[in-house]
Symmetry: C2
Subunit: 328 residues, 2 copies
DNA sequence: CTGAAAGCGCTTACAG
DNA sequence: CTGAAAGCGCTTACAG
């Protein structure tokens, strides 16, 4: 240890750099070490440090699709919760793909302090089997004894159905997501159930990937039938799908919301500025991230997790895509 | 080392697990070790390994805005080039922000095998000062002796100007990006220069962040003046800006491309499926990633870099937003 | 309060 | 071909 030379001794430096000086190092030595560190531009080697402690300070966030703006929010929540003692690093995979077990194994070899897994599939979790601290996010419908933080998407879907029914819609189309994530199954089931209860007929519009273009294309195919069949609203599994629908509705000269109401799910930033604004279910992404981060911190510290599965409220945001003259 | 017990000895295991058996380990021992590894589910501890070697196998990709779909492509290129010997990890920061030096310092403590920095600012690079293997991506206009892989955005802007001039436009608006990245300065300068040469007048439309909503709003403000002032095309610094313009043009009933031509820059996936498709400058993102990855590999291996600064061709993709009846 | 010592899990020359 | 040994840079009980 280089810094050792520039003052007194070896172990003391470690105490100082790791901030464990409480009644174990004299003020004089602390100052001396600090000075030496500054002079030499010394930075603790994380490798040695981690090896000695048995754990690195890395927290991996494993998410299927980083380019979804939704994650930017989740990430900022996680960072906020984690603070500076841990490094949040994103494991990246091909667009939209859950990482391969082999990829994850290589990451595990780095002995991370903890793992955050977003929108996991059941298969992925069984293959993962790690004893590392692990918290699941947005894992509605997944069976696991790992702590999780979820959105109450069922409630959101229910609110959506209620809103459309209140607007007088009798027949609506449902455009689903083609990714097999559990959350979409839950959204759909809850919507269908509530719509049925309220006497609103639902027509399945098939599924597309979470992609504006794919959704736009699907809508183009569907609309001719729908317009004669009395469909007056289309419910989309994600905001991204809804953008595609909005686009083609404009191109086709379909008036939104007068002729066709459109709704999304997620409340991405753009949903506020689209024209018309998109009525959608708001999912508190920042909060998801910060709660998950806090849970992970507890796990790492060996504290008991009192609330194993947390659920965040989903709320309905009404905008111009379903209501004329909305000021939202 | 646990695996040592299940066969012969210690160092041999290391040789086997790291694949350095070439004429140094007998076939029998290799088999024995492999069996033991399989039985015990042994995974090399990356921490110990890295410490002994003095370097980890981590490659950091530092990028300002992961939620841009452009990065998904860059990332897949990098992964392809890097192979499985290195772990590509994304350093994440608040949306659109270049990471703070303090963040990067913590990452450097992990002793990464190398660093990939995308769209850096000059300030960031001077603060970074690391001796780690480093390759810059999309750093047009940045002075640095680190190897870099860039796009020929100037050429792209020139092609754009030529295309619009050929379509008969005499007066065009230029909507710039508010981020201070060099690449935007280069795009703008090249476009203005070529437009001037071709006798096309350019009106500055100000700048907005890379955000559909912000661009849409800017267009709303601008259009009344432009429509009476004879502006027949708007050139956007990124595709994202162009999406905002397309949206509001539709809302305002402005016909694209008949009344107003719109162009972007980047060729994001959505530009192909938007309606109309967006005429834009295609930037080969996957190739950017794979070339940068390959350069970094050389650097890590201590090989000489023959071509310090590489430039990838930018091409013009003409679609319906500038040309009626385009089949593209 | 402080230093010497052992150990974290691996890798790499170095003798055999 | 193979094992004993030293060392990577830190941290953490443990004597003093």
């Amino acid at each position: 240890m280089v810094a050792a030379r520039a003052g007194v001794s070896a172990a003391t430096v470690s105490l100082v750099t790791s901030g464990k000086t409480a009644g174990r190092v004299s003020a004089g030595n602390i100052a001396r070490v600090d000075a030496a560190v500054a002079e030499l531009g010394y930075v603790v080697n994380g490798l040695g440090s981690s090896l000695a402690k048995g754990r690195s300070s890395i927290v991996f966030l494993i998410a299927p699709d980083v380019s979804n703006p939704f994650y930017a929010k989740v990430i900022s929540g996680v960072r906020e919760a984690l603070g500076t003692d841990f490094q949040l690093l994103l494991s990246v995979t091909e667009a939209g793909q859950t990482p391969e077990p082999a990829d994850v194994r290589r990451l595990l070899a780095l002995r991370p302090a903890g793992l955050l897994v977003d929108a996991p599939s059941a298969r992925f979790l069984t293959e993962l089997r790690t004893s590392d601290p692990l918290v699941l996010l947005d894992a509605a419908g997944i069976e696991s004894d790992a702590p999780s933080v979820n959105f109450d998407v069922a409630r959101g879907a229910k609110l959506l159905a209620g809103h459309l029914a209140a607007q007088g819609h009798k027949k609506v189309g449902y455009l689903d997501s083609a990714t097999g994530t559990e959350t979409f199954r839950v959204r759909r089931a809850a919507f269908y159930h509530e719509a049925d209860r309220l006497g609103v007929a639902v027509v399945a519009a098939g599924t597309t990937t979470v992609d504006v273009g794919a959704a736009a294309f699907a809508f183009t195919k569907l609309w001719p039938d729908w317009s004669v069949g009395g469909v007056t609203a289309v419910v989309c599994a994600t905001d991204t799908h809804a953008y595609g629908v909005l686009q083609e509705a404009r191109v086709a000269g379909v008036r939104v919301p007068e002729t066709l109401a459109v709704t999304g799910f997620d409340d991405l930033p753009y949903s506020e500025t689209s024209n018309p604004g998109l009525t959608t279910v708001h999912l508190p992404a920042v909060e998801l991230g910060s709660l998950a981060g806090a849970q992970l911190l507890k796990l790492i510290a060996g504290e008991k997790i009192t609330e194993l599965h947390m659920t965040l409220e989903a709320t309905l945001v009404v905008r111009g895509s379903t209501v004329v003259d909305s000021e939202a």
